[in-house]
Each structure stands twice: as structure tokens, then as C-alpha cells.
């Protein structure tokens, strides 16, 4: 009891001291976190509108020293997870649809169809097993936080890419030497291509925003107007950035993104006109009071868009040989009206963006498909199109499930036009292992200027165990997208931000490292029809086997156990025997054996009885 009392008082004291410590921390940090909400609209080919929402929380806080005890704008639920599992960088995206680079250019943030997650863990770890354990814990926890199936991630579908998926934020080891930076022990990547993205994912995602979805730009995100799009992707991205130009300390950036591609023809009405009300079903009635910046941008680089309201400002910049021009609206000034802010944009019909044929195709794009020969052998083919006049160095990353065994020796890389074989600059391959590890392949190659390079690798179709087939096995098995990364020399169709910048408004005075514009394209994912057994087979087998046994058992039993004897066929004798037995019965004597053998010699009736018993 005494021990208990001391414990209690200690606890109270500890609590009170922590409380006072907290209050000082809170006052000290009250102004070190900022929230920015931004949305950009861009017309793309085929009467489509690309809208990209970005909700950014920046916090002058260090992940290495702080315990995330006090969160103001940063979502507490996520902070605890990041702290518990010692996450240095976290990227999640939940996507429906495929981004068509060839027609739509490059998105601001790339995402693979389905659920994609890649994580860099912190340096304080006890080796690979420790990180694997944390990876499992992290994905399970996130599955609860975001209503996703991340809990299906295990060693059988995670890989550690070597060349792709370098940290997007700062890393202290980057300076210390290439060895620490190049390690891939701390990175984990997994994709669930089958994942369905719906309202139940958007709901918890919205709850992480400081203003929830009641105020500000997030109030435009209504499930009904998000899931009717050609492409929608929600994301959450956490990383560390330089605090200042010296970069001796870090800050935290947490970005929640939504990418949507609307088809104006499907939405109805005029195909050359879009408005906020048409896209989202509502005007903008409010701004988020917690937001420092609350901006709407319209990409007017092509000078083909007429806006119904004069923008607050227009910014232009020359980025990577590319002219960009944004019309900017400050939501604080417009959204307070009772009618709701509605922006109407008319696309001039003479513009090239309306015609599907006359778009400027991007410098690099890819296409992936499978070829099948029956249900025995198949191949994965990736075509990389380089429209630039100079060669580009491209990294190709493939993460193939264990049930699609590929043959490394069949990897062929060749130019399509002249069939010339291309020698890769580097290759990394880890063969898969049944039920425990996927096939991992990374190839760095130089794609010659103005050429199409084809990579192909063969695989076999396999049978799974009976219980491993999902309930809808005939639907097919999904194989996630491959990732093709490259640094482009020009920024044509490129709107992403450099690593040192987090807000869209800073694109105008951002500097890119030596004019290299990094793209990390996700290819198409595909469905593979694995040979699927007939699941009613066991039932059929049982029925058939039982019938056969029943039919066979009776006669066999009779033949092996019963003795056949000749019986006298003369009617006289039979009659005599009957009379004798009757008389014997009357006088209490046992019947002679001959009488019993009479029924034994009729095997047909006994077969019938045996069969019905079974």
C-alpha cells in the first residue's frame, strides 16, 4: 500500500511538471506552425480539367528531438504514429484511375492506381528485422486510421528499392557520404493495386485537416463530386525540410493532396466551360480561419481561358524553358460572400487543348502491357518513349507479386525502330520467393534520343493453393504499376515543385537543381487471369467418389465374404426341403443348413441393401 501511495504521488508530480512544461512549449511554439490551402485548375486535352488541392502544414519542429506532445495544426493522430514508429518520411496515396501522361502531361504528384505507400524510417533502428516489425505495425495502424487495407501489407508484397524512391526531404546523412545515403535498408515500398478508394477513405482523410471539411477549400470536396471523375487520388505526404538557407536544422512538412481529373463532356452542359459549382456542386462560402494562405490558382499559360472574375494577381515565370502563367484568387477576399464564390472559366474553342490530336506530348512517357500465350507463359512489356532529341537516363522499377514468377534471363532491352540491344547502366534484381517475397527488378538505362525502348521479361502462370484464391478469383489478380523515373532537361507539361519548396505560390521564385525536373511516372497496372480451378470440384469429387464406392462396395463385399453354393433347382427337392424345415420347426429342431443357403445364392438383393445403407 505504501509503495502504491508513493507511486501515486510521484505520478501526480510528474504529471504536474509535464503540464507546466507543456504550457511553456505551447506558448513557445504557438506561432511556429502554419497551414496553407491551395488549389490549382488546369485544362488538359480532351475537354478535361485537372484540379489539384494541396493542404500544407509547416511546423518548425524537429522529428529527432520532439515527441509531438503538443499539436496545434498537425494532426495528432498521425503525429503519434510517426513518433511511435520513428518515421522520417511517409507518402501515402489512394487512387482510382490511371494518369495518362501522354495526354494530360505530368501531374503535380504522381500516384499509382490503388493504394500506395512508401516510407523512410529514421536512423535509430536495430537492423532490418526491427524495421520490418515497425513497417508491419505502421501499415496496420494506418489501415485503421484511413479505413484502407494497408494491413494486407507484409513481407510478401514490400520491397526496398535501391534507385527509385529516394527521400524527398532532407537527410542528415546526405552530407556524410554517399554510403549512408544510398542505403535502402530504411526504405519500404508497397502497393495494393486492388484497393478501392471511396468515401470511407475521404472521411478520415478530411478529419486530419485543421478545419475539417466544414470551412475553406476542403468544403468543396464532397464525395459525390470526387468519385464521378476520370481520375481521383488522395494523398498524405510527410517529410522534413530545411529550416533556413543554411540548413542546419529542419522543419516538418505535412501535405494532404487531392488530384482530380474531370471530364467536362460527362459532366454535362458545355464542354468548353467549367466552373467551381459545376465541378464540385457547390460554391465556396467560407475560408479556413486557421489558414495563413488560402489561394485558388488557374493555369492560364496557354492564354486560352476567359475567367468571369478578374484575378487578384497574375504571376508569370520562366521555368526550364517553359512559360507559365497563373491567375491567383485569394479566398479570404472572395469566399465571405453569402452567395458563395463561383469561378467560371471558358476555354476558347480555337485552343489546342480542346482537340485530342493537337497536344504537345511530354518528353517522356511509358506504356506497359502483358502478352499472353495461352494460360501457361506470358510476358510483361514496357515501352519507354523518349521524345527528346537527346538521350535520357531512366530508372525502371518493377515490383511483381510472388505468384507471377519472372525469368531474369529473359530480360530484353532493345530499341524498337532498329532492334538494337541496349545495355543497361545498372541492374538490381531480387528473385521472389513463394509467399514471402515479391520479385524486385530495377534497371537504369540510357534511352537514346527520339526513340522507343522496349523492356520485356517473361513469366509463368502458377497455381495457388486452394485457400489462397480470393472469393472472386475469376476476376483476376492485380499486378501493381511499375515506376519509371527520370530527370528531364525541360519543364514542358511539368508543374511539380522542387524539393526545397512546399507551396504552389513559391513556384515563381523557386530554383531547380541544375535544371533537372524529376518525374516518377507510374505505369498502368494490369489484371492477370491466373488459371483458376473449379471451386466446386471438391464437392463433385466427393459426390462422385461416394457413388463409385457405393456401387463398387456391395458386389465386392458380397464376392469376398459370401460363399457360393450350388442349390438344387428341382422344384420337387425345394418343396421337400420346405416341408422338412416346417416340420422340423414345429418339433423344435434346428433347420438344416441347406435351407439358409437358398437366400444366400441371390446376390442381387443383398447388393441393393448395401447400396442404400451407404
Amino acid at each position: 500500500m505504501a509503495m502504491n501511495d508513493i507511486g501515486m504521488s510521484l505520478l501526480v508530480l510528474l504529471f504536474s511538471s509535464m503540464l507546466s512544461a507543456h504550457s511553456t512549449i505551447a506558448s513557445h511554439r504557438s506561432q511556429t506552425d502554419h497551414f496553407h490551402e491551395e488549389v490549382i485548375f488546369k485544362s488538359v486535352a480532351d475537354a478535361k480539367v485537372y484540379s489539384y488541392f494541396q493542404f500544407t502544414t509547416l511546423w518548425n519542429n524537429s522529428f529527432e528531438t520532439d515527441r509531438f506532445d503538443h499539436c496545434r495544426l498537425f494532426p495528432r493522430s498521425l503525429a503519434e504514429i510517426i513518433h511511435t514508429f520513428d518515421v522520417q518520411e511517409l507518402h501515402i496515396s489512394l487512387t482510382e484511375g490511371h494518369w495518362r501522361h501522354r495526354y494530360w502531361g505530368y501531374p503535380i504528384i504522381e500516384a499509382s492506381p490503388g493504394a500506395e505507400i512508401w516510407v523512410w524510417f529514421g536512423k535509430n533502428n536495430k537492423g532490418k528485422d526491427d524495421i520490418d516489425r515497425r513497417w508491419k505495425g505502421l501499415t496496420s495502424t494506418l489501415s485503421g486510421l484511413l479505413c484502407t487495407s494497408f494491413n494486407f501489407i507484409n513481407s510478401a508484397n514490400s520491397v526496398r528499392p535501391k534507385f527509385s524512391f529516394r527521400p524527398l526531404g532532407v537527410d542528415s546523412s546526405a552530407e556524410e557520404g554517399s554510403e549512408g545515403n544510398d542505403d535502402n535498408e530504411r526504405v519500404r515500398y508497397a502497393v495494393l493495386p486492388r484497393e478501392i478508394v471511396c468515401t470511407e477513405n475521404l472521411t478520415p482523410w478530411k478529419k486530419m485537416l485543421p478545419c475539417d471539411s466544414t470551412k475553406g477549400l476542403a468544403s468543396l470536396l464532397n464525395a459525390r463530386f470526387i468519385h464521378n471523375t476520370n481520375y481521383h487520388s488522395i494523398g498524405a505526404h510527410y517529410r522534413q525540410m530545411c529550416l533556413d538557407a543554411e540548413c542546419t536544422d529542419t522543419k516538418i512538412e505535412f501535405k494532404q493532396t487531392v488530384s482530380l481529373v474531370y471530364d467536362l463532356v460527362l459532366l454535362g452542359g458545355r464542354a468548353d466551360e467549367w466552373s467551381i459549382r459545376k465541378l464540385f456542386g457547390t460554391g465556396l462560402f467560407s475560408y479556413c480561419p486557421l489558414a495563413t494562405t488560402s489561394n485558388i490558382y488557374v493555369d492560364v499559360s496557354d492564354n486560352n481561358i476567359e475567367l468571369n472574375k478578374q484575378p487578384d494577381s497574375t504571376h508569370t515565370a520562366q521555368i526550364g524553358g517553359n512559360h507559365i502563367k497563373y491567375a491567383i484568387y485569394d479566398v479570404h477576399r472572395h469566399a465571405s460572400s453569402t452567395a458563395g464564390f463561383n469561378l467560371v472559366a471558358k476555354i476558347r474553342s480555337t485552343s489546342s487543348s480542346m482537340s485530342p490530336m493537337r497536344h504537345s506530348s511530354p518528353l517522356l512517357h511509358v506504356n506497359r502491357y502483358i502478352r499472353e500465350y495461352g494460360k501457361e507463359n506470358g510476358g510483361i512489356v514496357v515501352k519507354i518513349y523518349n521524345n527528346h532529341r537527346k538521350p535520357l537516363v531512366v530508372t525502371y522499377f518493377e515490383n511483381i507479386p510472388w505468384f507471377v514468377p519472372i525469368y531474369y534471363h529473359t530480360l530484353k532491352i532493345r530499341r524498337i525502330d532498329n532492334g538494337e540491344e541496349i545495355k543497361p547502366l545498372a541492374k538490381r534484381y531480387a528473385p521472389g520467393s513463394t509467399r514471402t517475397r515479391p520479385y524486385y527488378l530495377e534497371v537504369v538505362l540510357r534511352v537514346p534520343g527520339r526513340s522507343v525502348v522496349e523492356l520485356s521479361v517473361d513469366f509463368d502462370y502458377t497455381f495457388l493453393k486452394w485457400q489462397e484464391y480470393p472469393p472472386d478469383a475469376n476476376h483476376g489478380f492485380y499486378v501493381g504499376s511499375a515506376v519509371v523515373s527520370a530527370a528531364l532537361p525541360y519543364a514542358r507539361n511539368y508543374r511539380s515543385l522542387p524539393a526545397s519548396v512546399s507551396l504552389l505560390q513559391d513556384i515563381f521564385n523557386a530554383t531547380w537543381p541544375s535544371n533537372s525536373f524529376v518525374v516518377q511516372m507510374r505505369t498502368e497496372s494490369f489484371i492477370l487471369g491466373l488459371p483458376t480451378p473449379d471451386f466446386s470440384m471438391p464437392y463433385n469429387v466427393i459426390c462422385l467418389a461416394c457413388t463409385v464406392v457405393a456401387l463398387a462396395f456391395g458386389p465386392l463385399h458380397n464376392i469376398t465374404t459370401k460363399r457360393l453354393r450350388l442349390a438344387s433347382h428341382s422344384a420337387k427337392g425345394k418343396w421337400k426341403a420346405f416341408v422338412v424345415s416346417k416340420i422340423a420347426k414345429i418339433f423344435g429342431r434346428s433347420a438344416p443348413n441347406d435351407a439358409a443357403s437358398c437366400s444366400d445364392s441371390v446376390p442381387d438383393s443383398s447388393v441393393n441393401t448395401e447400396a442404400t445403407k451407404l
Partner: protein
């Protein structure tokens, strides 16, 4: 005023059917989800299991919605829905593990049934069933005996106070016949030997939109408010034979109270006990004795200046 002895409310709502033609089962489970949420059970205390995605299914002409009737009066899916188990996660194993709290250690809170001996639990199941079993995703079954044993295990682990068990499936009454644990009130959409029927078809989606029993249950529940004085016996009579066509089965012998005296909010609503204290907490008073100084977090030592930099996204290729 009736005094109920439970301290919290939970709901386990399960749709066990996959594939588009089973749209009605998702509409069923979401109808109950909508009602319990409206009547005050928070999402953290609702375990919603849906075996397939109907709202964002490519065949759904109205994305992100699930309606309970062809007139589209009520979007039971809503804008604020949290599905805890979905798709392939809805298995017999996971369902039994959830009920009996035998989940893997890393399972998040939202996927756990964190009930105690004061919990009133509403269990709602819908899907395709037969005499003594309920199918999960057309590939496995839970038998009535397994379900009864799981509930008994819950009782022995003191994981519930009372259970209201609802099931909408063919021959539904066979699922509760094997129950042998106390304090369970059970209700089924049809008796053994009867089919449970769907309500009407929606030509826009091409399939049946909801089942009769749940349709009338939702119509009844829509009129219930958190302060309603309606009792369970009125809910047990929610779907008379001329509406349901099947006979609604009820089992009350395990239930200690009279259903006519149990408010409907005992299972569909939520209790949130609020304790008012009038003595201010004074834990901040007093000074820390010096021998406990080690508890105060020390000033952070000056960290050595470290240089950070952004990482190059391009592969560094070294010749091995």
C-alpha cells in the same frame, strides 16, 4: 423511468455478400449503420464490415451513394462513413476473432471490439444463408453453432451486458436457435424453411435495392429520436407478415428483461456517461521536493550543428 444498467453501446454490423447483384445487402447494413449513428453511437464504437464496394463500384451510376429505395430519398451511405473491415477482410475468421477479441497484436483500435461487462451490443448480420449457416463472400460459411460458441465466449470473457442480435437472411431464425448464453435478445427476418425477400428493384442499377425486413426496420428507425420512449417490443413487431411476406422470428427466452420495458435506445442509441465534479482539481499546487528534481525534463543539451541537405533523386551508379 426505466433504469438500464449498461454503461456503453456498441454495434457490429456485417454485410457478408460480395458481388454487385448483392447490392441490397450493402444497403441493408448501411441502413442500420445510418440509424445507430444518427441515434448517437460514435464511429469508434461501430464495427462496420462490408464485403464489397457498392458505392464506388463502376456499375453504380450514382458514384459514392447507396440508396434504400429507387426514389433515391435516402442516401444511406452518406458523406461521413467509416468502414472498418472491407473487401477480403470480411471473413469468418476475422468476424469470430473480432467478437472474441483474439486479434493480432498490431490490430488498430478501430478494428477491435473493446467492449466490457457494461456494454450493450447490437449485432446485425445480412447475407445469404441457409438452415444453420450464413455464407461469407460466397466462399465460406459460419454455422449457428460457431456463432453461439463465439457469443458464449464473449459472455465468459465479460465482454457484454446485453446483446440484441438481428439477422436478415434466408432461414434466419436457424442462426439464433443454438444460442445458449444469457442476456441475448434475438430477431430474425424469416423462420426456418422460409426465404427472406427483397423489397423492390431499381431499374437504374438493375438489381434489387434493399430487403423487405430491413426496409421496414429502417422506416421504423427513421422515426426514432434519441429521446424516444419507444420500446423493443414495438421494434420486434416492425415487419408484420403482410409486409415481410416471411415470418419474423423472435427469441426472448435468454433475455432477462421484458422487451416491452426495454427502450429501443438501449441498443440503437448510445449512453455517454457524464460525471460532473464540483471540486476543482488542484494538482498544480505545491512545490516539487528537491529529491524529485530528476523528474523535471532537463534542458535540452545543445545539439551539435548538423548539416542537412536534400537528397538527389537520380541514381548513383557505381561500378561493382
Amino acid at each position: 423511468m426505466l433504469q438500464s444498467r449498461h454503461t456503453n453501446n456498441w454495434a457490429v454490423l456485417v454485410d457478408t455478400s460480395r458481388f454487385w447483384f448483392n447490392y441490397r445487402h450493402v444497403a441493408n447494413v448501411l441502413s442500420i449503420y445510418r440509424s445507430v449513428k444518427r441515434l448517437g453511437i460514435p464511429d469508434s464504437q461501430i464495427i462496420l464490415m462490408i464485403a464489397d464496394d457498392m458505392a464506388c463500384n463502376p456499375r453504380n451510376p450514382r458514384p459514392a451513394t447507396v440508396f434504400n429505395n429507387a426514389d433515391q430519398q435516402l442516401n444511406v451511405y452518406g458523406d461521413d462513413v467509416e468502414v472498418d473491415y472491407r473487401g477480403y477482410e470480411v471473413t469468418v475468421e476475422n468476424f469470430v476473432r473480432l467478437l472474441t477479441s483474439r486479434l493480432p497484436p498490431e490490430t488498430p483500435r478501430s478494428k477491435q471490439l473493446l467492449t466490457d461487462e457494461g456494454s450493450n451490443i447490437l449485432i446485425y448480420l445480412t447475407g445469404h444463408g441457409g438452415d444453420g449457416f450464413l455464407k461469407f463472400q460466397d466462399s465460406e460459411e459460419i454455422t449457428s453453432q460457431e456463432l453461439a460458441d463465439a457469443l458464449e465466449q464473449m459472455w465468459q470473457k465479460r465482454k457484454y451486458h446485453e446483446i440484441f442480435f438481428m439477422i436478415d437472411t434466408c432461414q434466419a431464425a436457424s442462426m439464433y436457435e443454438k444460442f445458449y448464453s444469457p442476456n441475448i435478445l434475438a430477431m430474425a427476418s424469416s423462420l426456418v424453411g422460409e426465404d427472406s425477400l427483397s423489397h423492390h428493384i431499381d431499374p437504374a442499377i438493375g438489381v434489387y435495392i434493399i430487403d423487405r425486413y430491413t426496409f421496414y426496420a429502417l422506416r421504423f428507425l427513421e422515426k426514432v429520436q434519441p429521446d424516444s420512449a419507444l420500446n423493443m417490443s414495438s421494434f420486434l413487431a416492425v415487419c408484420p407478415k403482410q409486409d415481410c411476406i416471411s415470418t419474423v422470428g423472435v427469441r426472448t427466452d435468454l433475455f432477462a428483461r421484458d422487451p416491452a420495458k426495454v427502450p429501443i435506445t438501449d441498443f440503437f442509441g448510445s449512453i455517454r456517461p457524464v460525471e460532473l465534479t464540483f471540486v476543482p482539481e488542484e494538482i498544480l499546487q505545491g512545490t516539487m521536493p528537491p529529491e524529485l528534481n530528476f523528474l523535471i525534463p532537463a534542458e535540452e543539451p545543445c545539439r551539435e550543428k548538423r548539416k542537412y541537405s536534400y537528397v538527389s533523386q537520380l541514381p548513383k551508379i557505381t561500378k561493382d
